[in-house]
């Protein structure tokens, strides 16, 4: 009888798989033992910040052989809660840790690596290019229902808000709504989906980071101030926020420190940061704290 068996082969392979898992386990365990000097850094969190950090990490690794910086998404909330428990080295976030409920911000160290501007965008059919701040607030609180009421076409207004608790929404509501409650509306999580929905649905309004605004969308000026980088640096354009990279206090990591230094270097700030549509942290003439108070730098 032939010895080749349909059953023994997979079982052998399963054993191999378990062995592999075991190896991986012990490897990982070994690495965490000397966590002070470990060359492996994991950054988790904000999906909006991810492209920048990912590209910077890949450049950083090719310049510093032997280091390993792994960048993943998961959302700002995930990033903050995971860095706070020490599960990951860096937590990427679109919002201040102080603004995220359930996070002890005093335990975290903030590294601001870039500034992102956001602008209201409307579908081109709305016929609106400029709104006053009060009008914008009225639209998002449900006071205005038709574009006619704010000087546009005779068309129903459809608000597409961003996900509750997302950094983009916190920034926008902080700058525009001033504590008022947003109208119940559609909500979308990602910049890409919002971009697609607003460009294809007549009468919609939403808001996006500058880098996602394309020719198919109509960005809206507020009080005749255009949504441009040059207006953000002096706070003429009010809707902007920092991109944060948080670490846990008292748990220093050499590779991470080196990486932050690299992120803040002129090479990255004047190169990659601007290429990806962010604003360099060094260009800012004002600063904002966690309570949304803006002061001169």
């Amino acid at each position: 009888m032939k010895k080749s068996s349909l059953v023994s082969a997979p079982i052998l392979v399963a054993g191999l798989g378990l062995l592999l898992a075991g190896c991986g386990n012990s490897n990982a365990a070994k690495k965490t033992d000397n966590s002070q000097n470990q060359p492996k850094v994991t950054a988790v969190g904000s999906t909006a910040l991810q492209p920048l950090v990912e590209q910077a990490a890949s450049d950083f690794q090719s310049a510093n052989k032997g280091t390993n910086v792994s960048v993943q998404g998961g959302g700002s909330g995930t990033g903050l809660s995971q860095v706070a428990t020490g599960a990951v080295t860096i937590g990427n976030s679109d919002i201040f840790a102080e603004q995220q409920p359930g996070i002890k911000a005093s335990k975290l160290v903030d590294h601001k690596v870039a500034v992102v501007g956001m602008a209201p965008v409307v579908n081109k059919s709305a016929g609106v290019k400029n709104l006053s701040m009060a009008q914008l607030k009225g639209i998002f609180t449900g006071k205005y229902k038709n574009w006619k009421q704010v000087g546009g076409a005779n068309q129903k207004i459809t608000v597409v808000n961003r996900a509750q608790g997302s950094g983009t929404r916190a920034t926008f509501e902080g700058a525009v709504l001033e504590g008022a409650k947003a109208v119940k509306s559609q909500e979308q999580d990602s910049n890409g989906t919002v971009q697609k929905i607003v460009s294809s649905t007549p009468g919609t309004i939403s808001y996006l980071a500058f880098s996602y605004i394309n020719k198919k969308l109509q960005p809206v000026s507020i009080n005749n101030v255009k949504p441009e980088d040059s207006n953000v640096v002096n706070n003429k354009w009010k809707i902007w926020s920092y991109e944060h990279m948080y670490t846990l206090k008292g748990k220093s990591n050499k590779t991470a420190d080196k990486f932050f230094k690299y992120m803040l270097s002129d090479d990255v700030q004047n190169g990659l940061v601007q290429k990806l549509g962010y604003i360099s942290i060094h260009d800012m003439k004002v600063q904002k704290n966690a309570k949304n108070v803006v002061t001169d730098k």
């Binding site: 909330g77 428990t85 409920p101 509750q164 608790g165 559609q186 999580d189 649905t201 919609t204």
Partner: protein, 322 residues
């Protein structure tokens, strides 16, 4: 074969130290094999059960935390219509009314299943009774391909084709239960159809022969005999498809509008349990009420799919062909 031979030679060999009685009562090699085999399969099922139990336990504890550690009211959760777990209402209770999402999830799922069922049955009848060879050659590979398309691609097609078409013909923004139903219908159709095929195939051939011999037409045979006999299997298939639809997230999220409002009609934006869960979970912090409330949504999903499954089993038990 070898085993039998060796066993036989062992038993018949004279002059062996052990008696015939011993060699007959001692467990043979085959018995050992059988024990080993049994052990392997028991080990596997044990591991699988362990995996399943761990995830069920995990979701259950997280989902219950909303009501035990955060002391939110279960009644509020099931009957109120305001979903905003981060904020308190005028009485100081957290706003965790999940009713709109539960209603929307149900409507989308049931509608998608209702639309998909006749099509799936037609396809299955075609593939088994009318043109078995052509049918399985073309449809089987297509079904296998469709399973592998990422749901975000379905969502994208829905967003670029289905939503504008609905907007044009039915008005509104195009986002809503109708768009969700259409996308889900396409997504569950392959699953439901292939399960229907299985159940119709399981109807014994002599049922058909008997019916045809009585002078019934093909349609009479299909309708009065084959489909009747296959009914429990078909219902199982549809419920299985419903369970799939209930758990689908990424595609539905893109076309349903994602607004936690009681649906007013088929074309007003709404939100399902899964779409809300997927949108919000990355933005909340572990252990806080907003996060726990989302896990409660997951628990509802889990319980619902449990109910679907139990229904399937009951139908299967009742309607088994004897």
């Amino acid at each position: 074969m070898d085993d039998i031979k060796t066993n036989l030679t062992k038993m018949t060999q004279p002059g062996q130290t052990e008696s015939i009685k011993d060699s007959l009562t001692r467990p043979t090699k085959a018995t050992h094999q059988d024990m080993m085999g049994k052990a392997i399969s028991y080990l596997c099922i044990g591991m699988v059960s362990l995996l399943v139990l761990s995830i069920l336990y995990f979701i259950a504890t997280k989902g219950v935390a909303t009501f035990t550690t955060n002391h939110a009211s279960l009644l509020d959760f099931l009957t109120k219509k305001n979903w905003n777990p981060g904020m308190l209402d005028s009485h100081g209770h957290p706003q965790i009314g999940a009713l709109p999402m539960i209603v929307t999830s149900f409507s989308v799922t049931v509608l998608a299943a209702l639309v998909a069922a006749p099509f799936a049955i037609a396809v299955a009848v075609f593939m088994t009774e009318i043109a078995p060879q052509k049918g399985s050659k073309i449809l089987q590979p297509v079904i296998e391909l469709l399973v592998g398309i990422p749901s975000v691609v379905y969502g994208f097609i829905g967003l670029t084709i289905v939503v504008p078409v609905i907007r044009k013909f039915a008005g509104g923004t195009g986002f809503g239960i109708l768009a969700g139903t259409i996308v889900l219908f396409v997504m569950i159709l392959p699953t439901v159809a292939s399960l229907c095929v299985d159940s119709i195939k399981a109807v014994p051939l002599y049922y058909r022969s008997a019916s045809l011999a009585l002078g019934a037409t093909r349609w009479q045979t299909i309708y009065k005999v084959v489909l009747r006999a296959a009914t429990p299997g078909i219902i199982t298939a549809v419920i299985f498809g419903m369970a799939r639809a209930f758990g689908e997230a990424l595609a539905v999220q893109m076309v349903i509008g994602n607004a936690v409002i009681m649906p007013k009609g088929l074309i007003s934006p709404a939100s399902t349990l899964t779409s809300q869960l997927t949108t919000e979970i990355g933005n909340t912090t572990m252990g806080t009420l907003p996060n726990n409330a989302l896990w409660s949504l997951a628990l509802v999903l889990l319980l619902m799919s449990l109910v679907f499954n139990i229904v399937v089993r009951l139908i299967g038990k009742r309607g088994r062909i004897k």
